[in-house]
């Protein structure tokens, strides 16, 4: 089943036409990568799916976007519920300046889970699922800002996973990390794939080739080509895709 279906999506920042007629199907429980040169609209597209673009005054989306069959554009959509189901991990790790525990407990708490009502267990499970539990189980009260960059990003993933989302949006989640940490986060993504649909934006073509099952190439607000990652990297159908992946473009 497709997790996200997107038909004739157009997006505007004021008068600037940032996404032009995007059509896309993201399949469930797979990793889908979006690649393309800087400024082509990857982040914009990602942020349509959890309506984070709503924060930008003067921006506007038109078209038809469904998450597991439910329309998410328009006024009637409950954003808090949508964002609980569609979690997001940001480019720069942005843990809250709270304790490790409170960071992970944040989502469950605002969605109504109380201490004693399974909060401790949820926090533990989430930290385990991102491989932080063993390192941090004795440091749950420490300020999250004192962790290393990689740990912070893992914590942010744990925090997102804690609201039990269906989809994880990741906007260049490794760009602030060194190559070893990047490799370990990529491994983590493979582990998470069995439970979540992951949509990742990356600048790094090798990363897209390594981690993703499906891949989309964007250029100046258009989704030029979309399909199986192997196929895109070995036999691109569009000349522009080929130019980009062989390094002849941008």
């Amino acid at each position: 089943m497709s997790a996200i279906t997107c038909k004739e999506l157009n997006f505007y920042y004021g008068n600037f036409h940032a996404l032009k007629g995007v059509n896309l199907n993201v399949s469930e429980k797979r990793i889908t990568a979006l690649i393309g040169p800087s400024g082509c609209g990857k982040s914009t597209l990602l942020r349509v799916f959890n309506r984070m673009n709503d924060l930008i005054i003067g921006s506007r989306a038109a078209g038809d976007v469904k998450i597991f069959g439910e329309q998410i554009l328009g006024d009637g959509v409950e954003l808090t519920g949508l964002r609980k189901r569609v979690g997001m991990v940001f480019q720069r790790p942005n843990p809250f300046p709270l304790s490790v525990f409170e960071n992970v407990a944040y989502g469950p708490r605002i969605h109504g889970l109380k201490r004693g009502g399974g909060l401790e267990r949820t926090v533990r499970e989430c930290l385990e699922s991102v491989g932080l539990w063993n390192d941090l189980k004795d440091h749950l009260k420490e300020n999250a800002l004192s962790l290393s960059g990689e740990q912070q990003q893992r914590l942010c993933i744990a925090r997102t996973v804690a609201t039990r989302p269906d989809i994880l949006l990741m906007d260049e989640p490794c760009s602030a990390l060194d190559p070893q940490a990047t490799a370990r986060i990529e491994e983590l993504m493979q582990d998470l794939k069995s439970n979540y649909t992951i949509l990742i934006v990356t600048h790094n073509m090798q990363q897209a080739a390594r981690v993703s099952d499906d891949c989309g190439f964007m250029l100046m607000g258009e989704l030029v080509e979309f399909g199986d990652t192997n196929r895109i990297f070995t036999a691109p159908a569009d000349k522009r895709t080929e130019d980009y992946i062989t390094g002849r473009y941008g």
């Binding site: 979690g87 942005n94 300046p97 942010c156 609201t163």
Partner: protein, 278 residues
């Protein structure tokens, strides 16, 4: 040239520290003998202030300063912080551009004007509706609260606006509402800045003299209710300095010494609150 400038700056730093040290030294030199003579315990806890008969107990003024300051914070902090939260987080940006300078302008109004307004407006209202002499702890607290509002609001707005946008984004992206994000992430992150504003405001409330003399009633007795008149430490010095000589004069300097420690203790307590673990 560089060395010359750094020498000059060093000299400036030294002299300003030295001036402060000299002032402190002078106050202590003038004030301590009478404290020793009366006995520190008697001076601080003595309930009788009768300079003409040699009774120097400033307990009532310490209590007066304490209540007036706490009262000002009780009214001023919730109002000021909510105002800052509203302006920094929920109001359209244009409003902030207009309202913040307007609020800061309030800080420029001389304290005698606030005192005058308090005497003319506030005191009669309190006298008629709540009883007592009107010139009271309650009246002084309200006037001081208004006077420290600009400091608290403007420093708090700066503190809230300095919180990285990524915190708010992260919170909203987890499905939190704007209000939840403010309460659970932004305010805790801005806490130390907001507290700095509160401490600044508190300093102003403790040190304020003119308005307090006008509005607090200046009774030298220990207050029993918020509607009673009080005299504060600062008011005590200002009211009596014109005619004090000898021991009396020294007792006023000693009041200054106590004021000095009073402010230090208040600041320490406030900082303790700030450093509390989340």
């Amino acid at each position: 040239m560089d060395r010359f400038i750094s020498k000059l700056l060093f000299l400036a730093a030294c002299s300003s520290t030295a001036i402060l040290a000299l002032i402190a030294l002078f106050i202590f030199k003038e004030g301590l003998p009478i404290m020793a003579k009366t006995g520190i315990g008697h001076f601080i806890l003595g309930k009788e202030w009768a300079p003409l008969s040699g009774q120097f107990g400033i307990y009532a003024f310490i209590i007066g300063s304490l209540w007036v300051t706490i009262g000002a914070l009780i009214f001023g902090v919730p109002l000021g912080v909510s105002c800052a939260v509203f302006l920094a987080e929920f109001a359209p940006p244009k409003w902030v551009g207009v309202l913040k300078p307007a609020i800061e302008l309030l800080a420029g109004i001389p304290s005698v004007v606030y005192g005058f307004l308090g005497v003319m407006w506030l005191a009669p209202i309190i006298r008629e509706h709540l009883g007592g002499p009107g010139l009271s702890i309650l009246a002084a607290s309200i006037v001081l609260a208004i006077m420290i509002l600009p400091t608290i609001v403007s420093v708090s707005i700066d503190a809230i606006q300095a919180v990285p946008k990524s915190y708010k984004e992260g919170s909203l992206a987890l499905g939190a509402t704007a209000w939840q994000s403010t309460w659970r992430v932004i305010l805790p992150a801005a806490k130390s800045g907001i507290l700095a504003g509160v401490i600044l405001g508190m300093g102003r409330a403790v040190g304020e003299t003119m308005a307090v003399i006008m509005i607090s009633g200046n009774a030298t007795t220990i207050p029993h209710s918020p509607l009673d008149s009080v005299r504060t430490l600062t008011a005590n010095i200002a009211i009596e300095m014109g005619y004090a000589v000898g021991d009396h004069r020294q007792a006023l300097f000693a009041t200054g010494v106590v004021l000095f420690f009073f402010i230090m203790i208040l600041n320490t307590v406030a900082l303790k609150f700030a450093r509390r673990k989340f």
